[in-house]
Symmetry: C2
Subunit: 241 residues, 2 copies
């Protein structure tokens, strides 16, 4: 599936403003992987959010979580279209990511409404941070597509309100949810590492030399920033990291 | 909750083009019920469609059903807003309809993907037919709101394609699905009758005399037309009624 490094011109930055980065078969394969993972992540998030909406204590809360699920769905079609433009079968491109993303959800199945809310908020935040970080290194078309999935405009704010209110009412849940937030982050990192390790093109692109400015040091800094934002988000919920 | 018939001027048509129909407390209560039922129907349909999407044989089919669920969600907010304008607590207005609508779904839980598809298509069709029928008798604001929930533009066509293909491949399922279609229709009628019988304002409005042109004879004709459309829909699926 992935062209050999020699054929793709390993060591040469894959794209500058003039060249078509998709001439580089490895860059192309990495982008197909990225879009496949993002799309399956959204399909899967829809599934989990709609599942979790059953635990909502009120009809209004249920509708709010259904809304978060629907917001995931509308992001799928543009990625499917783009994968098609890139000449790949969109749903086949998602297949490699089903197992790790499903594993993430299986290992972080919320036990109650509070854990659902924290997962919805923290998960959304992590995913958005990752997209924002990676987008800057991509070709313009992919960057715009990835960034277009970010406009979430306060849909998750209801989660913040509910969780803060819940903690005020019952301090005991704060400790449990703080632990839960750490578990979500840990599991996300574990699965992300598994995915990167199993996808040759993604590993190569992240290792550096193909995309200007992107190498293992940048990636490490990126993950540090994502972790810092996670800690800030937990703080916003009134939870210690 | 419902004003007494005398106070509301029982026997006088509730609205013509000049009068405000919401001056009639019974008409108003019936509209609140209608909107509450429609909104909870959509919330509940989201839940069932997203549930059923798990049975999808392919990721593409799953996304299609998630899309049908999301299409339900976007219809909820305008009704919630309208119920607010009418001065009622929107989610409280939905409460009386949870039990019968949930009962409909419990009694028609699809056993497999084929039954899910037929339910999605037939259920959507029945609901849309009912809205189209009733809308013509309502005040302009309510009519426009109800009709705005109808623009479905071929989203269910995928269900028709899939079912027809499935029947071509395996003739045995046609008999079972024909039976299933009858059960869906029967259960819908049963629950609709229960709802009407339990809601005084709705019963009164349907009994006639409050809304010009609407009485028990019109209602009977309405249900005959809905049944006929159901039979046509089953035929479009390649299923006998």
């Amino acid at each position: 599936m992935v062209a050999s490094p020699d054929a793709a011109g390993f060591g040469t930055p894959a794209h500058d403003s003039s060249a078509d980065p998709f001439q580089d078969a490895i860059y192309r394969a990495a982008i197909v992987d990225l879009l496949g993972a993002v799309a399956y992540g959204e399909i899967s998030a829809f599934e989990r959010l709609s599942d979790d909406s059953r635990m909502a204590p009120t009809l209004e809360d249920k509708v709010a979580l259904q809304g978060m699920a629907s917001a995931q769905h509308v992001k799928v079609a543009p990625i499917v279209a783009r994968l098609g433009e890139l000449g790949v079968a969109p749903y086949a491109a998602m297949e490699p990511f089903r197992e790790p993303i499903d594993a993430f959800h299986t290992h972080t199945a919320p036990a109650d409404w509070w854990e659902s809310l924290v997962k919805a908020y923290v998960g959304d935040g992590l995913v958005n941070d990752f997209y924002r970080e990676i987008a800057g290194y991509l070709d313009a078309a992919t960057r715009d597509l990835v960034l277009s999935t970010l406009e979430d405009s306060g849909r998750t704010e209801f989660a913040v309100d509910r969780i803060r209110a819940g903690i005020t009412e019952d301090h005991v849940i704060a400790g449990r949810l703080a632990l839960w937030g750490r578990r979500l982050m840990g599991e996300a990192v574990t699965q992300a590492q598994r995915v990167i390790a199993s996808r040759d093109a993604v590993s190569e692109v992240l290792a550096g030399g193909r995309v200007p400015g992107l190498d293992l040091t940048t990636v490490a800094t990126m993950f540090e920033r994502i972790t810092r934002h996670h800690v800030e988000r937990m703080g916003r919920l009134g939870l210690a990291h």
